[in-house]
Point group: C2
Chain length 215, copies 2
């Protein structure tokens, strides 16, 4: 069955999904790249960048599974880029170059309209201005029976969790402390929203945790 | 060298060291016992309760290490008992029965004076009314070169972290969400206080993380 899921979502031991002071030069915030160290050496990540080699095993398996059977993505505007307010022009096309790694429709949450943007390799960015539920409905239709992956960032994942619209999350808890930034858990009572941990498994680089919603 | 440390300190994935609604019947708060499931089956915990058997391996090793070379303990009043305000009498003697598992001097932080309380097996509870630094000084003297273990609860650990008085913490991160209660990390910038993760290792029941203070 088609699922709405979060995958390969890196957080720190103290719950931050991005460090403080995010900017064009530091899109993950200060120290935030440490959250993704588990994925960078994997064979899957190497292949995404057209490189040979890389590690296999638990981290690689989780990175790969994150892209399995995904038919559409949803991203917050912050994850799409650092531009704020109305789009000044069409020049910002995401962080990922001419051929982004999505290869399917991607719905970007924004308050400001913008025509769809077709990239190389099958990625089309659609800009959705009428809220998270409308974005999900459009993503589910576009996914044609496959899963919808909520890419992030933290604020977007939190909104979908609060609305109980996510079926499953895979978090990769990195063995680092960030001390500030965007916290995934703060003020969010996940058990009350129906979420519980259903499995966990650790590599040397991260503890991989699966959280699912009851019912 | 003598260290000030926290050990075998269970927290949830979302950072809570105790669940909501702590009470005499639920000293760990709602759901809080789930934080300690990793330790209950261990051989070390069995032996503490005079029982045979129990599991060996990573969880048992960490439980055991928590008591190695400890010469004195510090506990917050909440961890000593549910009594609030001035001590109505001397009848409350802790949660642990006539022979507590400490077997050394234990310094209890409180705003209300009370004479020392000598228990079976070498545990003496001292009640300290002049603050966390005074309690630590007394504990270090009593420990005679051994380590001082800060037992908890969360509020006590946070105060000692903020004062940069803890050298090392062993956290056991349980694969559960509590959604509320006493959060170890909220508003605490541990990297800014000089703390960083120096190792992590997972069993089926918990991810064991070591955090140490630089310098």
């Amino acid at each position: 069955m088609s699922k709405v899921r979060v995958a390969a979502f890196g957080i720190s031991l103290d719950g931050y999904g991005a460090g403080p002071d995010q900017s064009l030069d530091h899109p993950m915030g200060r120290g935030g790249m440490a959250l993704h160290q588990w994925v960078l050496p994997t064979r899957f990540f190497h292949a995404m960048q057209g490189k040979e080699g890389g590690t296999t095993g638990l981290d690689d398996d989780f990175a790969r599974r994150g892209f399995d059977n995904v038919g559409a993505w949803i991203l917050g505007r912050n994850m799409f880029g650092p531009v704020r307010g109305p789009w000044p022009d069409q020049s910002w096309k995401g962080w990922w170059g001419e051929e982004p790694p999505y290869h399917c429709p991607v719905f970007v949450l924004t308050h400001h309209e913008r025509p769809p943007l077709e990239m190389k390799g099958g990625t089309i960015f659609h800009f959705v201005t009428d809220g998270i539920e409308a974005a999900l409905a459009r993503a589910q239709e576009a996914a044609r029976g496959k899963d919808v992956r909520i890419g992030g960032g933290v604020a977007t994942v939190r909104q979908y969790l609060e609305a109980r619209l996510i079926d499953a999350l895979h978090l990769a808890v990195a063995p680092v402390l960030l001390g500030g930034g965007e916290n995934l858990f703060a003020g969010l009572d996940l058990p009350a929203l129906g979420y519980r941990v259903t499995s966990h498994e650790a590599s040397e680089a991260a503890t991989h945790v699966i959280i699912e919603r009851d019912g």
